[in-house]
């Protein structure tokens, strides 16, 4: 095996890699259209930090840096097995011989830990006072101590436990999890100790505490299985803390939730049952201490992860629609997960739907799932079965929205009783959809598309900040448009009493109008387009007339459109 390096070039490469990392760190955007690009940037940066830099540091720190060599190092390349092992997740790590930490080494490490913590506090204070944080520890100091601690944490369980307990008072420990590679079990232990429902009730700096816990959570996302383990632990304390303490960086919370609920199960499908255990815990929390509010990070993580659960979950709703309890069952994987009764499940989805971004994602995920499931049907029987499951699930989503709307209305009424009409309106438009749903079975798809189109529209539109009005005019328009959009796919709707069907030209016109509406972002212009379409469509699709008239005549809708 040809292995070697040129020291001066390695130094230059290391410098360029550090520049690349800094440059990528400076690229940011809050534009939704840039989300995928930002994810790619983050991935690239993460690869450089997690793979390139440790490899280059190992070479730079090696005593063999004096000259080019056709190496005596192993075929794994540069660095020791320890260094190589630390770049892998736990399950790939070569065996580490256990050894108790010598007392003098322990004292020295704790002294350095305390020193860096003090320097960090001083740096934070300087930053707060508007001066350069010259006292703050350098990256090299953090890395050096992190590597030394990681070395002994992997060898001495008692020392690891001591550090994990210390993490609630010394914020540096959580922070070091981002500066070196520690075993996931240690990072989990730190998170387990640090996670508190409303943050620490001690005298510690809550900002630094939240940042430290955030770093610990981030360090675990490379090991989704460990994230899932933490989320499903019996005491619910981690899950409760993530759902309650909004001081935490919510993006990190989302990434942690997605790693545990989605990625862990995708990596290891046999863990679906564990994922359901987390959903059971969430159901308990959403109908208990978190029934009025759950953190945006947990809601978005939950919504995103639904892609992993909809297949099995929707079947449970279908099969158990006449019973009081929903139980997800998957015999091949040995899963039997009771999620609670209808009110419990709508309570779970309802509290998630309070968050606009989670609504949008849940809508998209649901519609994608419904579409792909239906397309994948191999027989009429399976198509019908999938369709029923899709309709049952989307109906549950709508019921969750109504229930939550009622809850929010009660809360809003305490402040301003006049907002009640908003709840009436939402109930009405949902009825409008369900009215269409009572038509031919295949029209049930309208419900799924309503969620999709409605939430996409909301995601593209400036949000209206009004406590009692999470849905409104946009949904009204969307329901109308969706009703039409779905109906043009259904032959039954295009036959009037004289069995006249829509001509190809008429169909093209309707489709072109719908496409124009979808592209129109300006609310006023969109309303004009929708109204124009309504006046045209009634001539083409007589069966839609009652539903559209009812929507137009609704007084709550009129109130909102004034």
């Amino acid at each position: 095996m040809d292995v070697g390096y040129e020291p001066s070039r390695v130094i230059q490469l290391s410098r360029r890699a550090a520049e690349a990392i800094n440059s990528l760190a400076g690229l940011a955007s809050t534009d939704p259209a840039a989300a995928e690009a930002i994810r790619t940037i983050r991935l690239t940066r993460s690869n450089l930090e997690d793979h390139w830099m440790p490899a280059l540091r190992d070479i730079e720190g090696s005593d063999a840096m004096a000259h080019w060599r056709s190496s005596r190092l192993s075929t794994f390349g540069f660095g020791t097995l320890r260094a190589l092992g630390n770049s892998f997740p736990d399950h790939l790590r070569p065996g580490v011989a256990l050894a108790p930490i010598p007392p003098e080494v322990r004292s020295d490490l704790l002294r350095r830990l305390d020193l860096l913590e003090r320097k960090s506090v001083a740096g934070t204070n300087e930053l707060g006072a508007g001066v350069d944080p010259v006292s703050a520890p350098t990256k090299a100091e953090l890395r050096a101590l992190g590597n030394d601690l990681a070395h002994w944490v992997a060898r001495d369980d008692r020392f690891a436990d001591e550090l994990a307990r210390l993490s609630t008072s010394n914020m540096m420990i959580g922070r070091l999890l981002g500066a070196a590679t520690f075993p996931s079990s240690f990072a989990s232990s730190v998170v387990g100790h640090m996670a508190e429902p409303n943050g620490p009730d001690t005298e510690v700096d809550r900002d630094r505490y939240a940042e430290s816990l955030g770093t610990a959570l981030t360090s675990l996302t490379d090991d989704p299985g460990a994230c899932l383990d933490l989320l499903m632990e019996d005491g619910l304390s981690v899950l409760f803390a993530l759902g309650r303490w909004e001081h935490l960086d919510q993006k990190i919370v989302t990434e942690f939730m997605v790693a545990g609920l989605h990625e862990a199960v995708e990596d290891e499908p046999t863990r679906l049952g564990d994922g359901y255990q987390v959903l059971q815990h969430l159901t308990v929390l959403a109908n208990g201490p978190l029934d009025r509010r759950i953190s945006p990070g947990v809601a978005l993580g939950f919504a995103t992860s639904m892609v992993t659960y909809l297949d099995t979950m929707s079947l449970a709703f279908g099969y158990s629609s006449d019973s009081s309890q929903f139980t997800v069952t998957d015999r091949p994987r040995g899963i039997s997960a009771p999620l609670g009764d209808y009110a419990d499940v709508t309570g779970l989805f309802g509290v998630m739907l309070r968050h606009e971004e989670a609504r949008a994602v849940l809508g998209g995920v649901t519609a994608d799932w419904a579409t792909s499931t239906l397309r994948g049907s191999t027989s009429e029987e399976s198509f019908t079965s999938h369709l029923t499951a899709a309709a049952d699930f989307t109906q549950l989503l709508i019921a969750s929205g109504i229930a939550e709307q009622e809850q929010m209305e009660k809360e809003a009424a305490e402040v301003e009783a006049g907002k009640r009409r908003v709840g009436d309106f939402l109930g009405f438009v949902v009825d409008g959809v369900l009215q269409v749903k009572r038509g031919p079975t295949s029209v049930r798809r309208a419900v799924g598309y309503a969620i999709d189109l409605g939430t996409n529209w909301i995601a593209k539109t400036d949000s209206e900040v009004m406590p009692g009005r999470p849905w409104g005019l946009e949904i009204h328009q969307q329901i109308v448009v969706t009703t039409i959009a779905m109906s043009i796919d259904q032959r039954d709707f295009f036959h009037d009493e004289k069995d006249r069907s829509l001509t190809p030209t008429q169909r093209q016109e309707v489709e072109a109008d719908l496409a124009l509406i979808d592209r129109t972002l300006d609310p006023a212009l969109r309303e004009t387009c929708v109204n124009a379409m309504i006046s045209n469509i009634e001539g083409y699709v007589p069966a839609l007339e009652p539903a559209l008239n009812a929507i137009d005549n609704n007084t709550a809708a009129n109130d909102l459109t004034r």
């Binding site: 390096y5 040129e6 070039r9 259209a33 991935l43």
Partner: protein, 93 residues
């Protein structure tokens, strides 16, 4: 928000997305492979690092192209909104 204001907002977003695409392609990471060739380091670990970098560079190029495509679409929508605004003015007049 008026159609004109919305069009301006879309153009602003398009400009930002184009800037981001350019910044990605001008980033030092896109030329890092020149400094990490086989004359600098050799071995399975370096091969893996180079392969990962090549994959990331490819993804970044694709992301930049995607951003430009979004920018193009935003500008197209802005033009449509301008046309609508002009026709509204014409109707009003």
């Amino acid at each position: 928000m008026s159609a004109t204001a919305r069009a301006n907002q879309l153009r602003q977003r398009a400009r930002h997305l184009r800037w981001l695409a350019d910044a990605i392609e001008a980033s030092p990471v896109m030329s890092l492979d020149r400094y990490g060739d086989v004359d600098t380091w050799r071995g399975p670990r370096s091969d893996l690092s180079r392969a990962t970098l090549a994959s990331n560079q490819h993804q970044l190029h694709a992301a930049a192209e995607e951003l430009r495509w979004h920018a193009y679409r935003f500008e197209q929508q802005a033009r449509e909104l301008d046309a609508v605004a002009r026709s509204q003015i014409g109707l009003a007049g």
